[in-house]
Each structure stands twice: as structure tokens, then as C-alpha cells.
């Protein structure tokens, strides 16, 4: 699934400049706890989170998360956006709550990390 498709499914806004919206992600993980992301995510995953600080961007970088979707209408500050642009991690934001966002993506074919290599 491409980021462009994800943007349409979630009626999301793209927050970063020069993002590769044709980038594809096959799997997603959702959490507001960054240690859980570090423990359970897989390289190349999409992160769906309500945590909008710079630590979320650093966590994505460390865990090789490809892109982040912020849910519940939350928006990161400009420093977090700049850091994400620097690290080439596209950021999107949707007003949908986390459960709804995950459900819509799953319905359209994005899978979780269960049995992911």
C-alpha cells in the first residue's frame, strides 16, 4: 500500500515536505509507547501513534520505521517535523482515532506484524 493510498483512506494531511508518497508499506504497528515500538516493530513498518514529540521520530529512526501516521487530530511541533524531514521519515496526520485508523487500513489490506519476518 502506498502512502498516497493511506492518505486517502484516512483522509490524512501530509506534514512533511518532499515526502515520497509513492513509498510502499506492507505492515503497520500502533502504539503510544515507544519502548513497545522498539520491542515489537519490524523494519519497514508504518507506525500509527498518538505520540507527537521528537522521541517518536527518534524511535522511528532507530527502529527503521518507514513512515508515521499521527491519530486523534494530534499534530507534532515544528522541531519534530524538521527532524523527520532530515531523517526522510514522512509524517501524516488524521483526525481519526487510533482504532478507527487501524481498522480502515486493515480493511484495505494493510497487515500487522503478526508472523512478519
Amino acid at each position: 500500500m502506498t502512502l498516497n493510498e493511506i492518505k486517502d483512506i484516512l483522509q490524512a494531511e501530509v506534514l512533511t515536505c518532499n515526502s515520497d508518497m509513492n513509498m510502499t508499506v506492507e505492515r503497520g504497528c500502533s502504539s503510544d509507547l515507544m519502548s513497545d515500538v522498539l520491542a515489537f516493530s519490524k523494519p519497514g513498518a508504518l507506525l500509527i501513534t498518538g505520540l507527537t514529540n521528537e522521541a517518536a521520530i527518534r524511535t522511528a529512526e532507530v527502529a527503521n520505521v518507514k513512515a508515521i501516521i499521527f491519530v486523534r487530530g494530534k499534530r507534532p511541533n515544528s522541531k519534530a517535523v524538521t527532524l523527520a524531514e532530515e531523517k526522510k521519515i514522512p509524517l501524516l496526520a488524521t483526525n481519526l482515532p487510533m482504532f478507527e485508523a487501524c481498522g480502515r487500513l486493515y480493511e484495505k489490506g494493510l497487515r500487522g506484524l503478526l508472523n512478519a519476518k
Binding site: 509507547l33 519502548s35 513497545d36 521528537e54 522521541a55 517518536a56 529512526e61 532507530v62
Partner: protein, 147 residues
């Protein structure tokens, strides 16, 4: 693995400096990637280092992170200025945490930090004196997989 010799360095960490939290681990990750080290090893090293770095920034006034990259292993040592860990064994338990609500709101303090470090490294040593400080040292082997 293209590192032919030992590379060493140190980063200084300041407690509660959340704006720079993760910078040291990010730089270590970039260095390992530049050396052409296996992606899985780089990811494990970055996760372990980031968790340990966050612990220093969240819980202590200050600390330092020293690293040593050789053709055989990566060793990273974190030394901090307290407050120390009362019961290291308990702190290693998944889900155990002494973090404040403020830290939890930042997405940390779920009690997965030390278990995450152990999971991603080949050797982990923690020595702590309550009231004085903690030294955490981990080693990741370059050639073999996790033991």
C-alpha cells in the same frame, strides 16, 4: 563488516534534555551504517543504545556513553550520576517501571527498556549503587547472530 580497526568515542548526556534525547544513538547508528555493518546488527545496536540513552536522560542528572567498534564486536558503556537502581533484577522485569506520569506521557516508562536492551544484545552487565549511579555495558557481536 568493513571496520578494520577499532573506533572509539564518547557522547555526553544531560538529564532531562529531551530535545536532544536520542541524538547520540542516532549518530552511533549512522556511524555503523557508514561502516557497512549488517543491517540487523545496526538495528539491534541502535535500539539497545537508544533505550539506555533514554534511561540516562529520563532518570539521571547526567551521564556519558562510550563506544568501541571493532571488527569483532560493538561495546557501549553508559555511566551516569545517579540515582542508581535499587533492585536490578526487578528492573529487568518486563512491565516494571518507576517512571513518573510525565515520562509516560512522553511515550516512555512502560517497563520495557532494560528487557529491550537485553533482547537486542549478546552481553549485558549492569552495576548500580543506589545514591551514586549506574554503569550499563552491552556487547553485540559483529560476526555471529545473537547467542
Amino acid at each position: 563488516m568493513n571496520a578494520k580497526k577499532t573506533t572509539e568515542g564518547v557522547f555526553f548526556l544531560t538529564g532531562k534534555d529531551f530535545a536532544n534525547a536520542g541524538v547520540a544513538s542516532s549518530e552511533l547508528k549512522a556511524m555503523l551504517e557508514k561502516m557497512g555493518i549488517d543491517h540487523d546488527i545496526v538495528r539491534r545496536a541502535a535500539i539497545a543504545s537508544f533505550e539506555a540513552e533514554m534511561n540516562v536522560i529520563i532518570y539521571t542528572p547526567a551521564g556519558m556513553m562510550r563506544y568501541e567498534i571493532t571488527p569483532d564486536y560493538l561495546k557501549v558503556v553508559f555511566e551516569d550520576m545517579g540515582p542508581g537502581i535499587e533492585d536490578v533484577e526487578l528492573a529487568m522485569t518486563e512491565g516494571y517501571s518507576t517512571a513518573s506520569d510525565e515520562i509516560r506521557e512522553m511515550g516512555f516508562g512502560s517497563g520495557m527498556g532494560l528487557p529491550n536492551i537485553k533482547k537486542n544484545t549478546d552481553e549485558l552487565k549492569i552495576a548500580s549503587i543506589p545514591g551514586i549511579g549506574t554503569t550499563l555495558e552491552f556487547v553485540i557481536k559483529m560476526k555471529e547472530g545473537k547467542a
